[in-house]
Structures are given as C-alpha cells and as structure tokens.
Point group: C2
Chain length 343, copies 2
DNA sequence: CTGAAAGCGCTTACAG
DNA sequence: CTGAAAGCGCTTACAG
C-alpha cells in the first residue's frame, strides 16, 4: 500500500470505479471505456452489458482523469466584462449556455468588473488549461491583454470586439451610433446628447464605439458635441441627475443612450419629473431589450441571438479543433421606432 | 514511444511542464510542486528559485492532473432555475462569483429552464465529480431530484428552498407574501389579485410560496381569492393583457406581484393605458430590485446580498470539507413603501 | 528541507 | 472485437 494517498479521510466512497464496472460486466476496463463512449468497435451486446453494469453501480467517469488522458477538458470559459445583472449579459449567457451544453461542454464563468478583478484575471489566467476555448464578451482588451490571451494557447472567440486575426462576431457599433444620431438630428431638435454609464470606460468596447459614432454624426453635421452625460452605473438613482441636467436645458432635446437599460431608467426619471416624452425630451436606446417595447422605446436593435449563437458555435468548433477556421462576422442593426421619438 | 498518445496532432506545445521547471530550478518535481503551492516545508530560497523558473517558462499547472491527485476539482457548480436575464439570477450569480473566486474556486454554471433541460440535468448529473459543491438557486426540486443529488456525493447548498437536512438559506416567502397581502387588504380596496408568470410552476419555489401566503391572508380575512393572474413569461408583451384584465374590473384594485420585474412591466402597461397608479390600481412588488425605486415601487425587499453571501461561503466551506456543518438560515424581509400604493 | 516512487482514473496505440 | 500496458501531469507518504 506504499504510495496509497491517505489525504481524503472521511470522504467516503466516491462511487464505483471503472474497474468495478469492468468486473461486473466481465470485461476489461479498456472495453468499459470504449463501450461507455459508444465506440463503434465494441460488440453491441458488450456495450449493452457495460452500460447496464455502469447504471447498476451508479458509475460516472472522472472528468479529471479523462481530461488528463485526452488533453481536452470539455469546458468552455466565458469572460464577461459587464455586470451579470445587465440584460445583455444575461441574454448572451443564456444563449451561450444553450449551445455549449448541447455540444457536450460545461460552462465556466469568469467576470471582470473592476480594475482589480481584471488584474487578477490576467495575472492568474484561470482559464488556462482549464477550458478548451474562451469566449470574451463585450469586453475591451488592451493589446497587452490580447497578447497574454494569445500566449495562453486557448482559442479565443470575441463577442462584440474586433481583434484582428481572432475569431469574432459583432455589430458596427460606431456606424449604428452614427445612424441613430443622424436620425436624432433629423428630428429638428437643438440638442442631441449622449448618455452613458461612468466608470466602465476601459471595459465596454461597444459603449465607447457608439459614442464615437455619435461624435461622427455631429461632426458631419457641423455641430459640436453637447457635453456628454455620464452617470454612475447601476443603483436606483441612475438617471435622476441626468434627467435634471437634461431638463435644466429648457430646450427640446434628444438623448441617445448607451443601452436600453439606461434609456428605461432615464424614462422613469423623466416621468417622475413630469417631463413630456417625446415632446420635451425624445429618447433613443440601444440593444432591443424586450422590456423597452413596453415603454415604447425607440431603439437600435442588435441581433443578439444571432451573435451569441455564432460565437458559441465557433467556440465549440475551436474547442474541438484549435485549427478550425477563425472567421469574423459583422451583423446588421435595425432602428426600431417607438413612441419615445416624435413621428 | 510505445504508449505515447498521438491523438493531438497539430496541437502544438501546451506549455512548460513541471519537469521543465524542475530542471530549470535545479530541483525535483516534488519540490516544484511544494514550492508552487508555497508549502512551509521548503527553504525560502528554493521556493523563490522555483517561482522564478516557473514564471520564466510561463508554467501553469494542469488542473486536471492536480484534481486527479487530490480528489478535489476546485470548482463550485451553480444550478439556476430562472432565466439568467432575471434581475435575481444576475444578482445572485454576481455575488456567488465574487465569493467563490476569492476563495480560489472556479464557477461552473448550470441552468435549467424547461422540463427538457431539467430531465437532461438529472439524468446526466454533469456536476458529478465535476464540482466540489453544488449551489442550487431558486429552484424547486422534487423529492426524487433531491435524492438524486444526495446520491451524487457532492455537498449541496440551497438558496431559497427548504430541504431538511441540507444546508440552505432563504426568506419566509409564504409569510412575506401573506404580510404583503395583509398590507394590501388594509388599503381598503375591494380586489386584491396576485400576478405571476406562467409556465414555471414546478421550478420557482418562491413564487409558489408567495402565492400561498397571498391565499393565507385572504383566507384569514374571510375572503375568497380573486382569479389569480398568470401571464406568459418574458417578452415585450408581458403585463399587457394583465393590465387589460385588471382595468376591466372597474374597481380600485391592488396587485401583488411575484417579483419586481413583473411589477415594473405591469406598471408600464398600466401607464400606457392611462390608468392612474395608485388611485385606480395599486401595485406591490417583491424583491427589492434597484430599478423598482425609480418607479416608486412599493415592494417586499429581500436581503439578496446576505443570502447569496451566506450560501456561497457555505458552499466553499463544504467544498473544502464535506463534513463542515450544514446549517439552515432564514433571513427577514422588509416592506418598502413607495408611491405605487396609497399613503 | 529534499527526492524517488507510487498512485489518482481514465484513454488509446499496439498486439492479438 | 478485446485486453494488457503505458502514459497523461500532478501530489504526497515515506525515507533520508
């Protein structure tokens, strides 16, 4: 019994081993291994006998042992930069989960909210050797961080960020931000402001690009940008001071928002102040969050389901074969008109 | 080279091995292993030398190999029954993530939305041998499923469900539902209805219990329940037909909602119909979602952060030692008055 | 404080 | 179609 590790006292039996199954089925563990993975080169009756024995003993294989032998961990990691309470985060996680699980992979979740979490993630690279592919969602990486991920030797798929040479899918945030702003300018209001959350500048690629598109449109129209409105993220008070500042202007205005979630919070704040929407203030969101429809929100709808599905399927393909093609895809957005902008 | 597996063609080098580090540092791999985990029985200079060599070679240990040797996978699995887009799901995932990661564990996510996903999960038990502890969140399990989880030999912590003999934390959903309804009855309206989502009956323990509390209160007041309002979950149209049905009654009414998310969607639908809140319809939510504050929502606030923190810390404790105490904790709720109920 | 060696539980090339 | 054996890359009891 030399070498027998005794460091799991009181753990109790962890369940049947492959050897137990082999004995019960009267075959070798090689055959058990093959039969349980339904390899074609096993006699059907043998396979059935093995499955029977495994079920009877409540056997389930050790993923760690299998990983060690195959070099694959059958896990896909997702790295998310926005709070998980955001509609966008929840929606893409839901979609990614479906694809990943149906392909037989588990989902490992990593979240990076602040500079500290960010530092820890890139220093320790927990996804290293821990996932067969990594999906980076809505998260603006520095060139350094991109390089670090490269060295990790795990295939990376980007959702909503452009990284040349890497697989990825997204929309044209800048173009869509510009188009929304052009539409806003066409409404004949004197001010068009852009509202976004503070403190996530380095994280949210998409917000930054949408804002750039806003500036593009103003520039093309020969206008200078109104002071952009930046609010503290999250919390019940979001939008309140923005509403105050917007209403202080005393001119009809259009507000283009970074996201529908922000737009909805702004609408609530405006209404509590008695502002008329869209007469005093017109509002345009960004996302296509279903809740926005209830508020009649005019918004830029992005094809979240398509983006997510594509990203997840690509991650699975790369997890299976790191040499699978690494394509880039850009999907179109649509401006959906509601009642928060005038006809 | 016999036995050398050749099934990873083109994978390229996966990085340095412990042997490489050992050679570079001039020690054995035993020492490398100890030094990298900062074991106390290694000379400080040796430890430093090993860390240096590891950093130079970009070494990171294989979690699979470590797991196989230790019997621990350093992962905690979360099983969630509600859509990840729900505020509650996002909030608890955020909180669980923080605790779990800071304790050195990875987070494995499992979601069970419909009967099919549910069946697959319990048939395949993907968390088996794949996590050191399982956190089951807001998910009503059948006795059979509870037993299945028991046999899995992974410690389980329940968030928002009472399972005797298991660790868990939650609020008194039934009591809180009753208290909210009693408050509603005290407002002197003739009808008090309960609004919840359809299709998740077997999944959401908490919604069911809140509804039971509603019935309790009516019963105690000698009233019979109004037809409960059940709506299709999700989507932009949620709440619209509920609003229609509520307004058809033509009597002032109080609506107690399963969640704040539902209450907010109802408020939007009511306002678009021109109903006065709280004069025509008073609304009470459940959760304490920050967004509700913007709408002045009266609601039952549950201590989500405390519940989540406790559950996650308990999961970590059980992951470290399956014999750690399995306690149950019930936390209090508070009715927060807003402007959607009359003074 | 350090090293040689066994073992964790699988998968698969090889031989039959 | 099946089995014996090597190896995946760690950790740790044991001996020094």
């Amino acid at each position: 019994m030399q070498g027998q590790l005794s460091h799991s006292p009181g753990q109790g039996p962890i369940g049947a081993s492959m050897e137990d199954v082999a004995e019960a089925a009267g075959v070798s563990i090689s055959t058990v291994s093959r039969a349980l993975r339904n390899a074609s080169n096993v006699r059907p009756e043998t396979t059935a006998r093995v499955h029977d024995a495994a079920a009877r003993l409540g056997f389930s294989a050790s993923p760690s042992a299998a990983s060690l032998a195959t070099g694959k961990v059958k896990r896909i990691a997702v790295l998310i930069g926005s709070p998980l309470t955001d509609w966008f985060s929840g929606t893409i996680l839901d979609g990614i989960y479906r694809e990943v699980r149906s392909a037989g992979y588990d989902l490992l979740l990593y979240r990076v909210h602040d500079a500290d979490e960010r530092r820890v993630f890139f220093e320790t690279l927990p996804a290293r050797r821990n996932a067969d592919a990594l999906l980076v969602a809505s998260f603006a990486l520095t060139p350094d961080e991109q390089a670090t991920l490269e060295r990790m030797r795990v295939p990376v798929v980007y959702l909503n960020q452009k990284v040349s040479g890497s697989a990825g899918v997204g929309i044209d945030d800048r173009g869509a931000g510009r188009a929304a702003t052009e539409y806003a300018l066409g409404l004949g209001r004197r001010r068009v402001v852009f509202l976004r959350e503070r403190g996530l500048e380095g994280f949210r690629w998409s917000a930054r690009d949408r804002y750039r598109g806003y500036l593009d449109a103003l520039d093309a129209a020969g206008l200078s940008a109104s002071a952009e409105l930046v609010e503290e993220p999250g919390g019940g008070r979001f939008g309140v001071s923005a509403a105050d500042r917007i209403l202080a202007g005393a001119v009809p205005v259009v507000v283009a928002c970074e996201s529908d979630g922000i737009a909805i919070r702004l609408l609530a704040a405006l209404r509590r102040r008695g502002a008329r929407v869209p007469d005093d203030v017109a509002v345009i969101g960004f996302d296509g969050q279903p809740e926005g429809e209830l508020f009649g929100l005019t918004t830029v709808v992005q094809p979240v389901a398509e983006m997510t599905g594509w990203a997840a399927r690509t991650a699975v393909a790369l997890a299976r074969d790191a040499n699978a093609p690494r394509e880039r895809l850009e999907l179109p957005t649509v401006l959906r008109l509601g009642t928060t902008t005038p006809r």
